[in-house]
């Protein structure tokens, strides 16, 4: 394991001279990382041909969707049934004042959301529309809806099998439910669980470098370059500089331990999210007469054969893939954030987690998609993709919005990076032990990828990011299939109490029932 660290720091050193010798630094870094990214992408996004069609669906996407469908039926549409209960839990109806000061359902949800709301939704929808047409949005929303059940399942398990450390802190997530949960099923399963936990942790570290890091820094750089004049911008060939600045701010928090910055970010991000949703609603409101047509377009092109390469099934594959990246449902990341909640009923946190894909994919994606389609930018601005497309769509209605969006994108990216640096770190220390040296090694690597991300081209980034994050779904969902009966017991137990109104309820800190 130290060998691993040395090898990587050697790579960093090799790269340093390249960084210092001027001219096309960006191309150099790009040229170095792209082949690697392509290789990883080819392995993990192995395309499965869809019978009777020319389209392909990456194996991992099929894996995610099948699991979400199976879970949704297995839990008899808990994603619909559970929303009322989830809302009351988030609202604090069951917050016992004697447990005041512990992590509440609201806080766990908000923390998890700050890790997922962001580029996946803003850029993801734009990518889906630009390569799959408006129809992809329909499949994205459907995937978000099914993904709610995956989130429910993994977050219930996250709380159920979290580890309460002797020092009073809590560790949770797929590493823990895979190893501890499967261990309950016998020695054979215990071995499988350990292997799955390790594989998950490896992929999670990769994901924290890829989609949660390089993709974020890449997209925020594109956005900043875009509003400062595009190709003619002073920033145009200075991705490395932008990356260094961003890395500096990440370092302040993760290495410098400056909590106040993290705390301020945690407060600003929800404000930006509300601002984004409001702006989207304003644009939609102004063009309310076009909304029915936009919805019609989404639905007809979802089933229309003419739309893009691969026909209707190709559109479906694109929509599902972007949704998987946007919700992270089935990926396992959210279970790490949700497991710190204070509750005696693991299933209650699962019900709260339903709101994560709901807000971040169904609500935000629908709004973004409507703005893009109403603006017509997806047709006119052919060639535009990612945040650039979303930005110009908003610009056509609110001329100054790109500046706000740029700020939002950078902040979303920043908060996603901070959240994921924590997820990645937890997995890294799960693998290598919680020593100070290991922690600092991880953090330095993380910072390196911030810089690398800002210098690469979007296509290379998307492939690699998708691959690393989505790969987490293999060990995670495989283990979850075996743990489904555990989740069923938990939800049945809780649901019965909830239905019979046996759970103590509180209002203004006073017990009302």
């Amino acid at each position: 394991m130290p060998r691993h660290a040395t090898a990587l720091s050697a790579l960093c050193l090799l790269l340093a001279p390249g960084l210092l010798s001027a001219e096309s630094l960006d191309q150099r870094i790009d040229g170095w990382v792209t082949p690697l990214a392509n290789m990883v992408e080819r392995i993990i996004l192995f395309p499965l041909p869809i019978p009777g069609s020319e389209a392909n669906v990456p194996f991992v996407v099929a894996w995610l969707v099948i699991a979400a469908v199976v879970f949704t039926f297995y839990f008899r549409f808990i994603n619909l049934r559970g929303m009322g209960a989830g809302f009351r839990l988030v609202r604090g109806d069951y917050n016992d004042p004697r447990a005041a000061g512990e992590v509440t359902h609201f806080q766990a949800l908000a923390t998890a959301l700050s890790g997922t709301v962001g580029l996946g939704n803003i850029a993801g929808v734009a990518i889906a529309v630009s390569i799959g047409g408006p129809g992809a949005v329909f499949w994205m929303i459907l995937a978000g809806f099914l993904g709610m059940t995956s989130k429910f399942t993994e977050c219930t398990l996250g709380v159920k099998y979290r580890q309460e450390n002797p020092d009073g802190t809590v560790s949770g997530g797929p590493m823990y439910y895979l190893s501890r949960g499967l261990a309950e099923k016998g020695p054979g399963f215990a071995r499988l669980g350990k292997v799955l936990a390790v594989v998950f942790a490896i992929f999670c570290v990769g994901g924290s470098f890829g989609g949660a890091n390089m993709f974020q820094s890449n997209q925020s750089f594109q956005q900043v370059m875009g509003i400062t004049g595009g190709e003619a911008s002073w920033w145009a060939d200075k991705g490395w500089l932008f990356g260094l600045i961003l890395a500096f701010f990440v370092a302040l928090v993760i290495i410098g331990g400056i909590r106040s910055i993290a705390r301020v970010t945690a407060k600003i991000v929800p404000v930006m999210a509300v601002l984004y949703i409001t702006a989207g609603l304003v644009v939609i409101g102004v063009h309310i007469d076009q909304v029915p047509a936009a919805f019609a377009l989404i639905i007809t092109s979802a089933f229309g054969v003419q739309s893009v390469a691969g026909g209707a099934l190709g559109v479906l594959a694109i929509g599902f893939q972007r949704a998987a990246f946007s919700t992270e449902a089935g990926i396992g990341s959210a279970a790490i954030a949700h497991s710190a909640v204070k509750t005696r009923h693991p299933a209650s946190e699962g019900l709260v987690a339903l709101y994560e894909p709901f807000i971040d994919t169904i609500v935000v994606c629908t709004i973004t998609a409507l703005v893009i389609i109403i603006s017509g930018m997806w047709v006119e601005g052919a060639g535009m993709s990612g945040v650039e497309l979303t930005s110009s769509a908003f610009e056509s209605a609110i001329s100054w919005f790109p500046y706000v969006l740029a700020l939002a994108v950078v902040l979303f990216a920043y908060s996603t990076m901070l959240a994921w640096s924590y997820y990645g770190l937890k997995c890294w220390t799960y693998l290598f032990g919680e020593t100070r040296r290991m922690e600092i090694t991880y953090k330095l690597l993380f910072l390196f990828f911030v810089v690398a991300g800002a210098t690469m081209h979007l296509t290379a980034i998307i492939g690699f990011s998708d691959a690393m994050i989505l790969a987490m779904a293999f060990p995670n969902l495989l283990g979850i299939y075996f743990l489904l009966p555990v989740v069923r017991r938990e939800i049945n137990k809780y649901w019965q109490k909830y239905k019979n109104d046996e759970l103590p309820r509180f209002q203004h800190g006073v017990r009302v029932k």
């Binding site: 917050n95 929800p270 204070k342």
Partner: protein
Amino acid sequence: MHGKILVGLDGTEGGDRALDAAEKHARAAGMAVTICYVIPWSPFSFSTPEENAMRHKRREEELETAENKILKPRREKLEADGMLVDSIARHGHPAKTLVALADELEAEMIVVGRVGDTPMKTRLFGGTAAALVQMAPCPVLVVP
């Protein structure tokens, strides 16, 4: 069964003046005193994953500090003076928590100090004392 007077402390001198006043009233009326220290906290605040993982530990530490630094010395002093006294530390919104506690303990009176909040904060959000007067289920004595 003695009636109870609930005293809200905030670690300032104003809180101690409130405690003195409460002691006087309790002695005169033959009532017990419950000293309360509210640790400011909201269930709807935003936090980082790292903070959440540490939360349980931090909470224990906060409660312990409140007990050792604020509640215990005052409780022991009143006990030594022959008063019937207990104490409680709880996280929450200062005024709302005191109201909930007054309900829970069926307190006959709440006593708080007036100072504690800065004038700016009082103007923006309303002071704890003013909020208590609005919401309390029992008489409120505000000590200057």
